[in-house]
Symmetry: C2
Subunit: 250 residues, 2 copies
DNA sequence: CTGACACACTAATATATGTTTCGCATTGAT
DNA sequence: ATCAATGCGAAACATATATTAGTGTGTCAG
């Protein structure tokens, strides 16, 4: 298996082979966690940082009426904020959504890593900033985008995030979520997620079956939701010209 | 004027008088910026960190249809992420909402400050983490809270944030926003903000007039929106018992 | 093979919020 | 004093999404 952790941090730039080796050693002691299991709960003291090597995890909170609200998604290569131990207690929970391979990194190990490896520290810092930008973009989507665009936007974001770690074939990737999961991410009801999926399908933008998402026309999907990848802070992987062309078609 | 910057970072704990002096020197060269002026624009390279000493500023983005979406609020004492210069370019803009006193801190000065003053570095780090938690809480509110609760939640949050820097009398503070501003923060239309304000007023929870918000019954307001201040990571300033009592009334 | 269960799908209805439109008050400039 | 600009208040209407209530389908334990 490719080391998604290295792939992810490499996007920040500046890592050399020694750093790669360090990261490889760090992520060698992994552990399997079954789907739908809490890794950390709101209120816990945080002593370890979690790194996801395979599968999907999420940050969530349970609201008074018992509804779950997912405030962030962790795809392979992602890890939770190593600075969290500065805070008294977690203000949200983290749980696996699918079976996951995770690495538990003790707080001290993480701090030492950052102290001793300036280039890795830089990359980790970059990753944290991107995570913040993603959260803001989700906020914006829920605040101002209609459900179909919002979902299309999520699919575009995941395409880029998964591509960055080598987990998306040209226009297709595993999307092992139930419609309820999607609802909790998008701030919708499962029923409406179903309707919106039908809508996107009938527009010929996507096909979602057997837990795989196929994007039929990337440029049109991007245009449909006015997706601007700048907040992911990566070298653009997307064919801008064809995107702009499709923009005008709308 | 009290130094709100010091008050704010003090909430992280651990600062001594020397640190206070350092921070005082840092924030001595301030500058007046009129209301509704951009400090940084999306796409800019970030060379300076902004610190707000008085007034309100916000992080925002303009969406395709020209709508503004506010993804974060800066109250006196707040500053933008000092690590931002790691990224290639800003993914959002920052603008004043009222007349503001701001301090521009060059990137290098900020890094040196953090290198040389471990306790300040710790406090800055704490502040960044809290900012992230606030963004997540806004996301959750927009996703799952109804407009009246969402607005009440914002009012509770601001009460605590302003109290922390000494800018809220027991149950009253300056709220110098237009209804349009509130709409852009809450993901609503200005018209609906008007309706919701009327609703909160008619419930006897708040009075908003002449740009000041008065909270008539703090415990009831907290109960009304199930406000849980844990995400602000401060020593609770709120009378928990009376809050829980009011919770049961609902 | 069977029941239990989770999940996908659909329809009918309800409601929170958006849209459009208008009037009024305040403020500041001329 | 007059006027435009801005913000607040409100009504009528439109619509995106939620709610409620169900049907069908695949999977898995027994």
């Amino acid at each position: 298996m490719v080391n998604v952790f290295i792939r992810k941090l490499d996007a920040a730039g500046g890592l050399n082979e020694t750093d790669h080796e360090t990261l490889r050693r760090l992520s060698s002691h992994d552990r399997l966690v079954p789907a739908r299991q809490d890794l950390i709960r709101e209120g816990d003291r945080t002593e370890t940082v979690y790194l996801v090597l395979s599968g999907f995890a999420c940050c969530y909170k349970i609201l008074p009426r018992g509804r779950r609200c997912i405030s962030g998604l962790m795809v392979p290569g992602d890890f939770c904020d190593p600075r969290a131990s500065i805070l008294d207690e977690m203000d949200h929970s983290i749980a696996t959504m699918t079976d996951c391979t995770v690495v538990e990194i003790p707080r001290q190990t993480m701090w030492r890593l950052i102290e001793d490896h300036p280039r890795i520290a830089h990359a980790v810092c970059w990753s944290m900033l991107v995570d913040g930008a993603v959260t803001r973009e989700w906020l914006i989507g829920i605040a101002r985008r209609l459900a179909p665009e919002r979902m299309a936007h999520l699919f575009c974001e995941l395409l880029l995030r998964l591509r960055a770690v080598g987990l998306a074939a040209s226009n297709e990737y595993a999307l092992p979520f139930t419609q309820s999961d999607l609802a909790d991410m998008l701030g919708l009801t499962p029923i409406h997620v179903n309707r919106v999926l039908r809508d996107l399908r009938s527009r010929g933008l996507i096909v979602l079956s057997r837990r795989r998402l196929r994007i039929l026309d990337e440029a049109r999907l991007i245009a449909f939701c006015s997706f601007n990848p700048n907040y992911l802070h990566r070298i653009p992987v997307i064919d801008r010209i064809s995107t702009e062309k499709a923009m005008n078609d709308y």
